[in-house]
Every structure is written in C-alpha cells, then in structure tokens.
Amino acid sequence: MHRDDLAPDHGTAVLPAGPRRGYRIGIGGPVGGGKTALVAALCARLRDELSIVVVTNDIYTEEDAEFLRGHAVLPDDRIRAVRTGCCPHTAIRDDITANLAAVEELVEAHDPELVLVESGGDNLTATFSYGLIDAQIFVVDVAGGDKVPRKGGPGVIRSDLLVVNKIDLAPMVGADLEVMRRDAERSRGGRPTVFTSVRHQPDVAEVVNWVRRQRTAAAV
C-alpha cells in the first residue's frame, strides 16, 4: 500500500468537549464477519505499543464487551458497551451522540492514543459517520459469498480499509478469492483491501500496519 491508501482528512467536528484526542477507528460489517475477533487481535498486537480503549455496540449490549474481557485483551475499564435501541446503524451514522459520549468518557479517563469503535453487526449499507471516527474498517467474510465485493454498498465501496476475513473457509463455501480481490479493486477506487484469517493468523499484520500508517499520517 502507498500513501494514497490513507484515509482522506474528513475534518474534525467542533464538539463542546473540545478538540478530538486519540485516533479513532470504526470497525463495521455484517453479523458474524469477525469484527470482535479483529478488535481483540488488534488490541493484543498493539496494546504494548499504544494506549487503547474500545467502545462496542453489540445488539445484546454486553456480549462483545464480555468477549473482549474474557479474552483479557484489555482491562475492563478500557471497554465500554453502548446500547443502540435496535438500530446499530443509527448509532454509528445518523445519531452518533451515544457513541460520542462513550468515546469521550473513555478519552477523559485514559487519554488513549487509539480508540476502536466496533459497530453492532448490521448489513452492507451500514457505515460510520466521520463525525464519530477518523477512519473505518469494513469486515466481511468469504462465507457470505464471493459476490459481496461486486454487490458493493457503502461499507464495501467507501470504507478506508476492506477486510475480507475467514479466507481459510473459501474452499468449503466455494468462494473464489481472486474474484473477490478483482471486484474489490474495481469497486473501491484504489482504497486498500486485505484478506485475513483472524482465527488462524491472529497477528493480522496487514491490518496492524494499516492502523500504524493511519496514525502516523494523522500525526497524532
């Protein structure tokens, strides 16, 4: 990946709480794609390098937070669960106030260098508002079918990083990774796509490197 891969500067919202602190990355995508596993992997890889906090939006509120606590990737007080009133996409896009409040409380308490906001599982049309985050990762898995990158939708097309996860399952579900790679390249206008198997290769090196580059480019 090169310099053009970096997310554009979307500006910083003028918030009553003052200037934004901590680089904020949204992780979205359909149910079961591996968002929580990716968040856990990023925390495990980066926690010795960066001060990290996580906001989760799981439909059952505490489910993702419990997973992260259970895997002991971060201390409890660095994870906050936000209830989204049956509307995970509203909470990350149209009315981000509940998530902003959670992010700002964590920022106030820990002054982190990296803030991860994990959306509740939704569908291909869900994306984050740049009022809430600085860059976003959209996670899909091969078991959803190799037509997903071709179908597009705002998450696939406009996310700053597309992660195609569970590539180890590709032979089992008849997914052609080369087709997915080609379609993603065509639909994403040069924005990067990485292929992962978080379960089998939890170091998620390409995603970790992307996060590091994002932070460096934002000069935070």
Binding site: L15, P16, G85, C86, C87, D95, T97, A98
Partner: protein, 238 residues
C-alpha cells in the same frame, strides 16, 4: 402577510435530529419484557397515562427552561440560574437510572444544539452547568430555535410519546400505521397537557419557585427503570 416561524421548532420535533433519543424506549422495553405491553391497545393506554403524568412534569420543566432561557437580564447564560430548576427535576425523579437517562439525553441534545445555535445564552448557561436534564435543555433549545414556552412544553410530550411509540414498534413488531393513528388520537391530550404545563411553569417562574412545578408520577416506571438498568440483556438504555 401570513406568519411562518415554525421551521426551527419542527427541526427540534424531528426524531432525525441527533439527540440520543433512539437508544431510549421510555420504559417500554421493560414493560414488553414482562408482558405488560403486548399490543397496540396496551400501548395506547400506556401513552395516555404517561402523557398525563411524566409528560406533564417534563412539559412543565421544558416550559420553565424556555422561560428562563428567554430572560433578557443576562441571567440565562449563568450556570447558577439553572441549578434550582435542575435540582427540582432531580427530586421528582426517584430512580437514579431515569435521572441518568434524562441527563444523557439532555447532554446529547446540548451537543447538537450548541453547534446549531452557538450564540444562544440559555444553551451556553446549561453547557456551563454541565449534563443538564433533557426537558430543561429542550426548553432552552426551543427558545434558541425561535419557539415559545408553550412549544417547548408540546415538544416534551411529543418526544415522550414518540420515543415510546417507536420503541414499541421495534420491540413488538406492531403495525406502525396503527401506532401513528394512536399518536394522532393522543394529540389533543398532548396539547392540553402542554398548555397546563406552560401555565404552571409561568406561575413558577413568576414566583421564582421551582417547587410550584407539578410532580405527577407513577411508581411502576420508576421501579422498572431500576430493574431494566441492572438487567443483562437490554436493547435500549432505558
């Protein structure tokens, strides 16, 4: 010439305005979980009761907030002006979970309103005060948007009813058209409650005495709010 001045008010009435309301069910989730609200008829009765109790109180505090924000003696921008009205709503809300739900929604709307109307003295005063109750903030926002104390009172009941109605549609799969009809049938009650609330707020403001504001409530929403807050699996924050 006709007078057209409702655009700001309509913005505040629109549930699409970012204000944190969509993550709250107005107590409906706790009732649905216990089988206490099951269909459109149950919902209609619930909304009628809530409008006349919690709705009246919220509307009175919204109107008082509007009248305070509209003062032209410079006091609206000072945090001390707001403290007694804030405290008066605290003592009318026994459930700590409901007090928090009100403050988190007040703070969410303040976030949006301060960007929308950066020069509004009432909003500045409440920002200084920090984490205001939703009805009080709604009143100050209404004034910023060019609306009256009566409008603020109507907005408070409108959101109380609308938030609960939307949550019931999501949780029970109710027919949204029938739920809209229930809300329409309730509109005259909403207007009456708002008028009474605005009148009471006028008296309380004239006497500078928040104790004169109404304190109508039902025990069940307060108790259920506490149970909801401590339950493991919930979709709405309250």
């Amino acid at each position: 010439m006709p007078t057209c001045s409702a655009a700001g008010l309509l913005l505040l009435a629109d549930s699409r305005l970012p204000s944190g309301g969509h993550v709250h069910s107005g107590g409906v989730e706790a009732l649905v979980d216990r089988g206490l609200v099951r269909d459109v008829d149950d919902l209609a009765q619930l909304l009628d009761g809530r409008a006349r109790t919690a709705g009246l109180v919220a509307a009175a505090f919204a109107a008082a907030g509007a009248l305070t924000a509209a003062r032209n003696d410079g006091s609206a921008g000072s945090r001390g002006t707001w403290a007694p009205w804030d405290a008066a709503l605290d003592v009318r809300t026994p459930s700590a979970a409901l007090r928090e739900a009100s403050r988190s929604q007040g703070t969410a709307l303040l976030r949006t309103a301060r960007l929308a109307w950066p020069m509004a003295a009432g909003l500045l005063g409440l920002a200084e005060f920090g984490r205001p109750h939703h009805p009080v903030l709604l009143g100050a926002a209404a004034v910023a948007a060019g609306a009256t104390a009566g409008d603020a009172a109507t907005l408070a009941v409108h959101h109380l009813v609308g938030g609960a109605a939307t949550a019931a549609v999501r949780l029970l799969g109710l027919d949204p058209l029938r739920v809209a009809a229930v809300q329409a049938a309730l509109a005259p009650v909403t207007d009456r409650v708002a008028c009474e609330a605005a009148e009471l707020a006028g008296l309380a403001i004239a006497a500078d005495d928040p104790d004169l504001l109404p304190a109508d409530a039902g025990p069940l929403p307060e108790i259920l709010a506490e149970l909801h807050h401590s339950s493991e699996v919930t979709l709405f924050a309250s």
